[in-house]
């Protein structure tokens, strides 16, 4: 049974998920298969281009907005509420509630007000004409998100106002890439909060209606902001990803029985649901919008419930659900697990996370990860020694049951020695690979550095194309320095004959 469950499952080759530069980190489609580090390196030269791009984006959004509302603006003169009103009392309360947050809230209110008032930025003429390769990199996805957002908002009375706010905010966020992750989160969360407050109070939306608007707001904003906010370089999210990935790999020996998972994978329908659950939780990484990531977790959870219900013939309780989710996470080893959790926590609409159904499943995923991180022998009903043996790879669960530890046959002890040797060799190879990878990245750095310097020199001392006047003797080209060129007759011109 254990064999079966181990063999089955999704065959996602880890290597396909890794950075194409081979540095060992996870890659990402949004970064053209590179990890964030390599992507940044690749991109550093185009760093200033990013700013121009943002300008261009701002300009384009402005045009989109004008276009979208040009026709449908009869009530253009209706008074638009000022955001300051919504913010002043809020910041006061926050101050009282949490001292540490108050600073950020103040900045936020300043930030929010200015951003709301900022007139459309003038774009330098040269920025508009740059059709750099990086400009075409901006995924079609974001454009589609804008289009969908606009057509969604068209049906709403305060649609234009909402779009304006979101665009201004997104634009400003693009300039705040160097902020700490929790500051970015704070900004975005405060924006959500202020906007939904205003939808409630000024536009008298019902809570369901406001929620659905806020979902679209999140979709629009986070599709645009994804690159700068997912696994930002200011955090150690990426290292945490690697740590949990390694941890899960080290726990490959954990069985369904040890976790007391109430699913029987011998039932085809159950194993089918298990596979689907694994697929869903892996798929989470491919989404850009926090809510879409949440939806993957919810789908995964539903498949788990189906598996439990088919096995137990009763509705799953938390006692059944959590261990099964842990099992699924161990099987799936979802890419960039911590980054995804952090991203959702930081940038998802809070009401979805806190009391909604999606929030419940997400919380359970957080619990599963916390459990996996802390897991020890006791949590699996194993002795500390057994646990250590499994972790070191000296024993695997099936063999352990067969071997009475007292009288070990010679062949077995021989085998164990060989295993030890293999483990040692494995570790050594790992170290060699590590060194090779470091060397490779050093080489790339070096090459980039040299390229950079050469470029620099080339720019500072542009190449003279005129040959020095004195070097006639060595020249072997036929026409070189042919002083009599001027005396030659002009080349024949083709003539047209009217026929």
């Amino acid at each position: 049974m254990t064999h079966r469950s181990e063999r089955r499952g999704i065959h996602v080759d880890q290597s396909e998920l890794l950075c194409t530069k081979g540095c060992g980190f996870y890659g990402n489609v949004a970064w053209h298969g590179l990890c964030s580090k390599c992507w940044r390196e690749e991109n550093s030269r185009a760093g200033h281009k990013q700013i121009q791009e943002d300008h261009a984006l701002a300009e384009r959004l402005q045009r989109e907005e004008e276009a979208a509302y040009a026709s449908s603006q009869q009530g253009a003169s209706q008074p638009q509420p000022k955001p300051q009103h919504a913010i002043a009392p809020f910041s006061k309360f926050e101050e009282r509630k949490t001292k540490e947050k108050s600073r950020k809230v103040h900045t936020m209110s300043k930030f929010f007000t200015t951003s709301a008032k900022t007139p459309p930025k003038k774009v330098p003429a040269e920025a508009q004409s740059t059709s750099s390769p990086s400009a075409s990199r901006r995924p079609v996805e974001t454009d589609r998100a804008t289009q969908e957002f606009i057509s969604f908002l068209k049906t709403l009375k305060p649609g234009r106002e909402i779009f304006k706010q979101c665009r201004a905010f997104t634009e400003d966020m693009a300039y705040k890439r160097d902020l700490a992750a929790d500051e970015m989160s704070e900004y975005v969360q405060d924006f959500y909060q202020n906007l939904s407050d205003r939808l409630h109070t000024h536009f008298k939306g019902s809570s369901e209606r406001v929620e659905s608007v806020m979902d679209e707001v999140e979709r629009y904003m986070m599709t645009r902001l994804y690159e700068g906010t997912f696994c930002p370089e200011t955090t150690d999210d990426e290292n945490k990803d690697l740590a949990i990935q390694k941890r899960i790999r080290a726990l490959h020996w954990v069985t369904i029985e040890m976790l007391c998972v109430p699913v029987d994978e011998n039932i085809p329908e159950v194993s089918d649901n298990v596979v689907k659950a694994i697929t869903d939780v892996i798929e989470m990484d491919s989404k850009r919008v926090p809510r879409d990531k949440l939806t993957c977790i919810t789908r995964c959870s539903k498949h788990i419930f189906n598996a439990i219900k088919t096995t137990k013939k009763e509705a799953a309780s938390a006692d059944d659900f959590l261990p099964t989710l842990i099992y699924i996470v161990l099987k799936a080893n979802p890419p960039r697990l911590q980054s995804n959790i952090q991203y959702i926590t930081r940038f998802c609409n809070p009401s979805r996370l806190m009391s909604g159904e999606d929030g419940y499943y997400f919380t359970n995923l957080c619990c599963a990860v916390a459990f996996i991180e802390k897991l020890d022998g006791q949590s699996l009903n194993l002795s500390a020694e057994e646990f250590d043996l499994y972790m070191s790879g000296q024993v695997s669960p099936e063999r352990c049951k067969a071997v009475p530890s007292s009288a070990e046959p010679a062949a077995l002890s021989q085998m164990n020695k060989s295993l030890d040797l293999l483990t040692g060799l494995g570790a050594r190879q790992e170290r060699v690979m590590e060194g090779a990878r470091r060397l490779e990245s050093d080489l790339i750095d070096w090459r980039d550095g040299v390229q950079h310097k050469v470029q620099d020199v080339l720019e500072r001392f542009p190449l003279e194309t005129q040959p020095p006047p004195s070097s006639t003797a060595s020249s072997s080209a036929i026409d070189a320095d042919n002083v009599e060129n001027d005396l030659l007759p002009p080349p024949l011109q083709p003539q047209l004959f009217a026929g």
């Binding site: 919504a86 809020f90 407050d197 006692d319 659900f321 959590l322 419940y360 919380t363």
Partner: protein
């Protein structure tokens, strides 16, 4: 802001998160399934899961959306408690009246919750399985005395006989509303709802006609 009416406003929807805590087998799942689906040990269930359930209530004209979070009760998951009860407005701590040990576990939870969340959270201590009165191992006086000493309310229930459950949840909702209203008042006149919403409470002004549209169930009878 338009919600200037503060605590007195009548067209509001409250959203509350309540966690269920307690040792395995004391009847947590049975309690919610009884409350939300009026079922007990039903083998022909249509419910897919009993870990996250919701209930809409209408309490003295105010609408309440209740989300009930079941938690894994096994000892090995105890340390995960804080992840579950973060941002919750209420906690229902269940023990089995025939199981002295499960009552001790409740005491541990109370200590932990008070330490982590202070008085922001409404606590209910629930002695379940009172249909097994003959096998009772936790005295009524001890349990009620303890609850009072820690600022919690005590209830006796039987999921099997559907006793005391409506009262438990209705009472809890009323207390959570009071807490939310007190918080609103503390914010002062015209304060925004932001901070409470970020804690999980949402107070929403609704259009008058919306209130009639969602029937909900009124259980104050």
């Amino acid at each position: 802001m338009a919600s200037g009416g503060g605590a007195g406003g009548s067209n509001k929807t409250y959203s509350f998160k309540v966690v269920l805590l307690g040792e395995g087998c004391v009847g947590k799942t049975s309690l919610v399934l009884r409350y939300c689906e009026n079922k007990f040990n039903d083998k022909h269930i249509t419910t897919l899961q009993a870990s996250f359930l919701t209930k809409k209530l209408n309490i003295t004209g105010k609408r309440v959306n209740l989300a009930i979070w079941d938690t894994a009760g096994q000892e090995r998951f105890h340390a995960l408690g804080p992840i579950y009860y973060r941002d919750s407005n209420g906690a229902i701590l269940v023990y089995d009246v025939t199981d002295e040990d499960s009552f001790q576990k409740v005491k541990n939870w109370v200590k932990e919750l008070r330490k982590m969340l202070g008085n922001d959270i409404c606590l209910c201590i629930v002695g379940n399985k009172i249909d097994l009165e003959k096998e009772r191992h936790v005295s009524v006086e001890e349990a009620e005395g303890y609850a009072e000493s820690v600022g919690a309310k005590h209830y006796h229930t039987s999921a099997k006989l559907n006793k005391g459950i409506e009262e438990l949840f209705l009472d809890l909702c009323k207390r959570m509303m009071e807490t939310a209203q007190a918080e609103e008042r503390a914010k002062g006149n015209g304060a925004s709802q932001s901070s409470s919403a970020r804690r999980g409470v949402q107070i929403v002004d609704d259009e008058p006609q919306a209130a009639t549209a969602a029937g909900g169930c009124c259980s104050s009878g």
